[in-house]
């Protein structure tokens, strides 16, 4: 039974827990056993918190015993190692924070603690969330549960793989340019990036502050809705966080998409996309029509400029955000005779190649004499991209696209060519620049058995619409889900 428990969805587990047919400790043990069984091959976690998880599960069981416990009470989750967790090492997959134990909890972590969730471990990721394959982790790449020779996607690859491989029931990730949706697509799970400002960023180690957003990975759309509801909402510690009331996302899952207008951007079906990916997405669009939705062609004319704008804005913000890792107060310090040398050595030793590349790009973009040509121009492009979406949403309710142009690629295949790697996010990046909600869900498998992701994008605070659309598709049985054979 133990292994079977970890395969449960949150919706299933919560019913069993509430009826006391299973205990939170049993459920947590099942996940920890699964982790112990798979981790050597998968490397989805940087830190496994077995002892802490059991202790949390015991507390959760007491709450469950009394009845009326919150939905996530006793539910084992994996946490991307970018969330500050009080008392638990938080590395951001970097050598520079290899031994860093934060004194504070991220707001999302505090909220999940308050409802009795169980944290089985800190999930692997690309260093400082910079990457699309989790190969940029100082702790080794995470492998795709569907094919251990392939990447899990990134930057939240550990979270996606852990959910796909049933090492937890759901997971937290972050998404700056596709870091939830692309790994969700590669690992065949559901991942949602909410509207910018919907979820507090406090305590989430910043990569690009105006783009970073917190979101869940789950085995079903319903589970993603359950977790998102706990995360969303105002936070006095984050001034950019929205005060809008949080809807009950689960109630939005009516299964009804009749009359829904599904926008299909002409610019997103481009050369370089794998034929099987395009085929699966087109099939999904046809399926929506059979469910009563209507597809409409739309145009997002500034799509071509999104990657350039993203790599200027994100790196500029990152260059400042990562300045605090200086060896003075916490984290790695490589001693030297003077401050400048101490900074140089600490940062040279502590940061990986991709992180250094982005810090240098961003520093350059903000330098005197270049600011207008790069950073300011990129911000203008960002405004144009946002307007593209505003205009598009005048004629449609949601937008459907492939999540990524390919399925999961082989480990090492793209590491030599950063530009090729950057193109993995070509369909997701615009959504971050526009601050919109987007999710990825499985819509098929290619001839190698690798999952294909469908991205659904909503208008600002349109989480209910995209969740409803995704849930309807999932429940319709359009495709048969194939769990990884690992």
């Amino acid at each position: 039974m133990a292994v079977e428990l970890c395969r449960l969805t949150i919706a299933e587990a919560r019913a069993l827990l509430a009826r006391r047919e299973i205990s939170a400790v049993e459920l947590t043990r099942a996940c920890l056993d699964r982790i112990a069984e798979l981790e050597r091959r998968l490397n989805a976690f940087i830190t496994v918190c077995a002892r802490e998880a059991i202790a949390q599960a015991e507390v959760a069981d007491k709450r469950l015993e009394q009845g009326g416990a919150p939905a996530l009470c006793g539910i084992p989750l994996a946490i991307k190692d970018i969330y500050a967790t009080r008392g638990v090492r938080t590395t951001c997959a970097s050598k520079i924070l290899e031994k860093f134990v934060p004194p504070h909890d991220a707001t999302s972590i505090a909220k999940l603690r308050a409802v009795g969730a169980v944290f089985v471990g800190k999930a692997n990721m690309d260093e400082f969330a910079m990457g699309s394959s989790t190969e940029n982790s100082a702790f080794g790449a995470t492998r795709n549960p569907y094919d251990l020779q392939r990447v899990a996607g990134g930057s939240s690859g550990g979270s996606a793989a852990a959910v796909a491989a049933d090492e937890c029931l759901a997971a937290l990730g972050t998404d700056t340019g596709g870091s939830i949706r692309e790994p969700a697509s590669f690992c065949g799970v559901v991942g949602i990036k909410p509207t910018y400002s919907r979820v507090s960023r406090y305590g989430v180690i910043a990569y690009a502050s105006s783009l970073d957003q917190v979101g869940p990975f789950a085995k079903s759309v319903r589970d993603a809705a359950i977790v998102l509801r706990e995360l969303a909402g105002i936070d006095p510690r984050d001034s950019t966080c929205s005060a809008r009331p949080v809807p009950d996302y689960e109630r939005a899952l009516t299964g009804d998409v009749k009359g829904m207008r599904v926008g299909v951007p002409r610019e997103y079906f481009v050369e370089g996309m794998e034929a099987e990916v395009e085929g699966a997405v087109r099939a999904a669009l046809r399926h929506y029509e059979t469910m009563g939705a209507r597809t409409v062609e739309i145009s997002l004319p500034h799509t071509d400029y999104a990657i350039a704008a993203y790599y200027l804005i994100a790196t500029a913000e990152a260059s400042a955000n990562l300045a605090r890792y200086d060896g003075i107060r916490y984290g790695l310090r490589v001693p030297a005779d003077n401050n400048i040398e101490l900074y140089n050595r600490t940062r040279d030793t502590g940061f990986g190649a991709e992180v250094k590349r982005r810090i240098m790009l961003g520093t350059f973009a903000l330098s005197a004499g270049y600011y207008d040509a790069y950073y300011l121009k990129a911000q203008k492009v960002r405004t144009l991209i946002r307007r593209d979406f505003e205009r598009a949403f005048e004629t449609c309710d949601i937008i459907a696209t492939p999540t990524a142009p390919t399925t999961a690629f082989k480990i090492g295949e793209k590491t030599a060519d950063p530009l090729q790697m950057y193109l993995s996010d070509i369909f997701t990046i615009s959504v971050n620049l526009a601050g919109l909600p987007g999710l990825s869900m499985p819509c098929g498998y290619d001839s190698h058995g690798m999952p294909i992701g469908l991205q659904i994008v909503g208008a600002p605070f349109g989480e209910e619409a995209i969740l409803r659309a995704a849930d309807a598709y999932e429940r319709s049985g359009a495709i048969a889900r194939r769990p990884p054979a690992i």
């Binding site: 970018i82 969330y83 500050a84 938080t90 951001c92 924070l97 860093f100 934060p102 004194p103 504070h104 991220a106 960023r201 406090y202 305590g203 989430v204 180690i205 910043a206 690009a208 502050s209 105006s210 006095p236 510690r237 984050d238 001034s239 950019t240 500029a316 913000e317 260059s319 400042a320 990562l322 300045a323 605090r324 200086d326 003075i328 107060r329 916490y330 401050n339 400048i340 900074y343 520093t363 903000l366 330098s367 005197a368 600011y371 950073y375």
Partner: protein, 480 residues
């Protein structure tokens, strides 16, 4: 060198940083107070821990707006915060949150009084920013105290309208007065909550272009500012007059050697890479808030000075001295409220007795001297001739120590002045009788002896008689 000095004029602009008087820091809830043990007032936010975010202190914004209104600035209804990037151990995030292109307050001016008359120093801007921590070097190691990290500051930038060290001093004193009046800052240079950087250049008199400027840092007293400017102006004139040129440099003031010296280029060669702070939404200040702050503004030093001259018939000097500290001016006005008729007496009393006690004890005004109403009552007795001025001084000194009321103190010390004409006449008769020889001399024309008789009468009456009445009666009796 005299002729060269005459041919040049100095062009000086000041950048003043001052802490705002908030209870908590600019972006977190930590105490902003000075004087705690090292790293006691810190939290993940002001330590720059990973993932933390700033939340703007509303009170700091209101105080900055008050300062802006006091300096006649236009208040921006929309301003943004920027990140100013540089590496230094006392700067936890590797960037300082400041304001760059859109400061909270723009323009404005400060009027100052100088020996050459009134001058107006225009302001470029007043913007908000956070302070850094403090590096401490001891026993061969370096430590950092982050208590000051995140304490709210305003930076007040003047136009290069200042022409001398004296004007710079007058500007700083007026600025500090205004800050203290509006309750925006304590303006204490010694505690590092009022700091000043100076930009100095010189140019031939009559020239309209600026010379190359030197920036002087590390100035932590008004005296140092004035000395450093005087030194730097003289140095630049000497260099130019000798055919040399002034490189654009940052200098440090060395208070021991009383000279400025250039910093190593590494210490200031920075490209700050400003860009808008994505963690803070734009700061929107509604007109209603600005108006609410404007309505609640206290009277400013310049206005109060003018009112004291106009309404109380005080001299410019007296008005300036009384208004230099808000508490002193408040004290003076509260004394008048006790019904004093003679404002000059009250003003003199504050300038001499009150300020002397404050200086001697070093205590805050409120602790050093009796409540203004009591001091007012004491002087009212002098006005009503029930107390001599000297007796009042004795009583005041006692009241400062005991905290007793004017009436009780005067009673206890038996200082009440006798104005009973009968009693005084009797005493006069006694003195005339016992000093027959002197009386004869006086009557023969030795007028100088009059003071001697007054003294005798006063002595006889234990020093408590009203001297005016003694004078009148003695004159009459001696004449008769």
């Amino acid at each position: 060198m005299e002729p060269a000095t005459e041919k040049y004029e100095a062009v000086i602009g000041l950048e003043v940083h001052t802490h705002l008087l908030t209870r908590s820091k600019l972006f977190c809830g930590c105490a902003a107070a000075f004087g705690a043990g090292p790293n006691e007032n810190v939290c993940p936010v002001c330590m720059g821990m990973p993932g933390v975010l700033p939340v703007l202190n509303r009170r700091a914004v209101e105080l900055a707006i008050r300062m802006g209104l006091a300096a006649h600035c236009s208040i921006s209804e929309y301003s943004i915060f920027d990140r100013k990037s540089y590496f230094y151990p006392d700067l936890p995030k590797g960037y300082q949150i400041s304001q760059y292109e859109t400061p909270l307050c723009k323009g404005g001016y400060i009027d100052i009084a100088t020996s050459g008359g009134a001058r107006r120093v225009r302001l470029v801007r007043i913007h908000m920013e956070e302070d850094a921590g403090k590096n401490i070097h001891q026993d061969g190691t370096s430590l950092v105290d982050f208590n000051r990290s995140g304490v709210p500051l305003v930076e007040i930038v003047s136009e290069p309208d200042i022409r001398s060290a004296e004007e710079a001093g007058a500007y700083l004193r007026e600025l500090r007065n205004i800050l203290r009046y509006v309750g925006a800052s304590e303006g204490r240079m010694e505690e590092g909550n009022f700091r000043c950087d100076v930009n100095v250049s010189v140019r031939p008199k009559g020239a309209t272009e600026f010379g190359t400027k030197t920036e002087i840092k590390n100035l932590n007293s008004f005296r140092f500012v004035e000395k450093a400017i005087a030194y730097e102006v003289a140095r630049q004139i000497e260099t130019l007059a000798a055919g040399g040129r002034i490189p654009q440099e940052t200098h440090l003031w060395d208070p021991d050697r009383e000279e400025t010296r250039p910093m190593r280029s590494k210490e200031f060669a920075n490209d700050y890479r400003y860009f808008p702070e994505p963690d803070l939404p734009p700061l929107r200040v509604p007109t209603e808030l600005i108006e609410r702050i404007r309505t609640a503004m206290p009277e400013l030093p310049a206005d109060r000075r003018a009112r004291f001259v106009r309404d109380f018939a005080l001299s410019d000097y007296e008005a300036a001295l009384l208004t230099e500290e808000r508490e002193v001016a408040d004290y003076f006005e509260a004394m008048l409220a006790a019904g004093l008729g003679n404002r000059k007496t009250a003003a003199n009393w504050v300038m001499t007795e009150v300020l002397r006690v404050v200086n001697e004890t070093g205590a805050p005004l409120a602790d050093a001297v009796p409540p203004p109403a009591e001091t007012g009552r004491l002087l009212k007795m002098v006005e009503e001739a029930t107390l001599s001025l000297n007796a009042a001084k004795t009583a005041f000194a006692a009241m400062c120590k005991s905290g007793g009321t004017a009436a009780a103190t005067v009673g206890e010390l038996g200082l009440v002045q006798v104005s009973d004409e009968g009693a005084i006449a009797t005493a006069c008769d006694k003195v005339i009788e016992s000093e027959a020889a002197n009386v004869a001399e006086y009557r023969a024309g030795r007028d100088k002896l009059f003071g001697f008789f007054v003294g005798k009468v006063m002595k006889l009456m234990g020093g408590k008689a009203n001297p005016k009445i003694i004078n009148e009666i003695l004159k009459r009796k001696l004449a008769g």
